[in-house]
Symmetry: C2
């Protein structure tokens, strides 16, 4: 056995060096199948190491199947194939076009994104206290797989809360928690007939559109009028499922009036298998008047699937969303749920439970509402000041973003290119439309979010925006 | 307007009572479309409340679209349809068969489940410290949506770690993090040709089997021999994808020797589109000898997709798993990933990053290895003592469970029924087999986990098991 060990090498034990030396010889075919190895004593003497070292190395090789032992005779090389390509050495060269930058390099950027939340006044101390309570009281539950729908206790708390704040009538049983609305929609729609036609809002949340298309459904984008999704076109679409955002249409912000809500609910009742998915993604933030009760609260026929999330009220990375299934769909869900696992972090779920129960969550939302309302007003004021008559703001006092139209001869592409240059994160309406909106009348539509921008940066952000437009 | 307000009612503001009273009248059709409402002053006088109260109520009703205003004339009822079923009242009566018990009522139960982890000596303090670091250093990242594959920094840390502990060669770019191996497999397989044939182990992890079947793939269960999945049957299956658990076959515990590993790797290279998914679900726990390097570490042709999880080393509810994509599949993944969101809790991800980096994770695994090894030995000792010659233990010193065979004339059903009676959580081999294993030779196979059982409960658990068998 012509190999050496380096006794001074600290990073590797000597037995590991012996093991690796032998392993390499075997893998590279430098020793042959059924060849006898030196006895442990012989090899120990040759390498000037302890017998124990060789024993450890041989045992590891034997466990992994590189060598075998014949009683009273000794150790032999196993018969193993040559690995195709072993001579190539390390296999995993990553092509340059797949390389990422180690950091985002967002230094100096300002963001008017609609996808963030503001953590600058998040009550982390309260949260940590609730987490400690969760650890203390639920050590057993944390060590096990959770119920596929999420822990009963957490569902109970959520059902009570949305009963109070959103008028949603439901039992804990009907709640399904998961790590995002996308996952919930995917579970929900797996239960449906693949031939179903699905109507979605256009402009709207294109991630759902893509998901549903990919699942094989026929998806019909329906335009909006001033009341939200056009009811006539929903009726003529032949859809049996309808995805809407009635509290604050995404992204236009339209609050669907009760007349349209009732039209949708009555449309659903007309046929036995029609359902409406109400995505209530940011309804917690409503300024000036109270929040608008959910569509589900008006439903008397179990045709609304309500979905909510903690991405906006807590933070996007919390990954806790939920849906409320009508009894008939819950029954279908239960048949499948043995195959599904709870995807939300259970420690975060129990923490959330105490966070809501203690009142800290309600307090946080109140505080954030004031905070966001203030930033919203500042941003609107600054926009009006800077753009004067060249801007139209769709001023619906709700949510964490609003829609604006700018008078400009520039194209969307030119504006977004310029935004990258001046380091401004911004999203145009084209992102939410299935067909690129034609540029009409020298206008562009943008969606401006105000969650992550700092108060003191608003003026600068609007200045940059002015340069772009 | 014949309705009253209760000024003493504390749970509802007076303006809310006015709002609700009017809303109910409108919804129930007790007032008619375009009917004029009393002026704010009139209604305030009538109800003996302030003008402000009525203003608030009217504004809320207007925002929601129940009433409209005509300048200088006053407020009018909107034209809204009758809600079909409004007279039914609350709609959501949950049928009794869908009711759950509020608590699991697991009092007095003992568990030999393979699905749990032991949190009794989990270093929560270290974990919380790392979490505080995560909050302090990553407030900006937490307020945004994470990279679909997970934060780069966390991927970097995982790639370094599995390089050291599992011999996996990869870059951070190749790592995809998600809230469970199931979600990863589902993303991975969405990239593949739907006509692909997929070979899986039988017995094996049936959740993958169901998932792949549901995705529309042809799934071929392949039996095992003493080296793991039978290579001849893999070859003849016509599969292009192969799912295996080489480090510790689930659930039998077989450690795949290097000869079979190489056969599988060479099988993959024979055709351009063959891949092996290596599910390394509990390889961190290997007793007596060192852990077995991953199959991926032997691969020289980018044909292995390595998957790992923190469900066993931390806890199942942490919901952090990852896969390592070969460059070609990474390229495919990137094309789709705009539609996917990161599903793991980002606070937990950054916490994990510091937990690994600080060495706390490594220390924890070492400590848990000793702890589990000790419990494992105790359980085996107790089983031998109690069952004597009526038990055969497949004693492979790895993982958090092992397989046993009992001599008994009882059926699986009888045993599991009895287990419920004596409050013992236990799983039989039938759970992991596609066809119910025929009862042969008066033997039953069970999978015994030792993660959650307390040391002092082992004797009692074995006693209960004895009663069942």
């Amino acid at each position: 056995m012509d190999f050496r060990v380096d006794k001074k090498r600290k990073s590797k034990f000597i037995y590991q060096q012996v093991y690796e030396g032998l392993r390499e010889k075997i893998l590279k075919g430098q020793v042959h199948a059924h060849e006898k190895l030196p006895s442990k004593r012989e090899l120990a003497d040759q390498l000037l190491v302890s017998l124990n070292t060789i024993t450890n190395a041989y045992e590891q090789l034997q466990t992994e199947g590189y060598i075998y032992t014949v009683e009273r005779k000794g150790y032999y090389i196993e018969n193993i194939d040559h690995i195709i390509g072993i001579e190539k050495g390390i296999h995993n060269k990553l092509p340059k076009d797949l390389k990422e930058k180690a950091t985002d390099d967002k230094d100096g950027w300002l963001s008017l994104s609609h996808m963030t939340s503001d953590l600058s006044i998040f009550p982390f101390n309260e949260w940590l206290k609730c987490q400690q309570k969760a650890i203390k009281n639920h050590i057993k539950e944390l060590s096990e797989l959770a119920h596929p729908q999420g822990p009963y206790q957490v569902r109970k708390t959520i059902s009570k809360m949305i009963g109070l704040t959103r008028g949603v009538t439901c039992e804990a049983e009907q709640i399904v928690i998961s790590a995002g609305t996308q996952l919930l929609v995917s579970q929900l729609m797996e239960l449906q007939n693949q031939d179903s036609v699905i109507a979605v809002e256009n402009p709207g949340y294109l991630r759902f559109y893509s998901l549903l298309k990919k699942m094989g459904f026929k998806v019909k984008p329906i335009p909006l009028d001033e009341k939200g999704i056009e009811i006539e076109k929903v009726i003529s679409s032949g859809a049996s499922f309808l995805f809407v955002t009635p509290s604050h249409q995404f992204p236009t912000g339209i609050i669907m009036p009760v007349s349209r809500r009732i039209e949708l609910l009555n449309w659903a009742v007309e046929s036995g298998d029609r359902y409406i998915v109400e995505d209530d993604y940011d309804s917690e933030f409503k300024y000036e008047t109270d929040s608008i009760p959910s569509l589900q609260s008006l439903d008397r026929n179990n045709r609304v699937i309500y979905t909510g999330t903690f991405s906006k009220t807590l933070f996007p990375g919390i990954r806790i969303s939920y849906m409320v299934l009508p009894p008939k769909l819950l029954k279908e869900y239960r048949k499948q749920s043995a195959n599904w696992m709870q995807n939300s972090n259970s420690m975060a779920l129990y923490t959330l439970h105490y966070f809501i129960e203690s009142g800290a969550y309600g307090k946080h939302i109140k505080r954030m509402s004031h905070h966001y309302e203030h930033k919203r007003k500042l941003l609107i004021k600054q926009l009006k000041k800077r753009f004067k008559t060249n801007i139209e703001i769709v001023d619906i006092p709700a949510g964490l973003h609003f829609q604006v139209s700018f008078k400009t001869k520039k194209t969307y592409e030119e504006i977004l290119d310029k935004a990258t240059q001046v380091k401004l994160e911004i999203y145009s309406m084209t992102r939410f439309m299935l067909k690129d909106k034609m540029k009409e009348n020298d206008k562009v539509d943008m969606i401006l979010g105000f969650a992550s921008i700092k108060e003191e940066d608003i003026e600068e952000a609007v200045d940059r925006l002015y340069q772009c437009v």
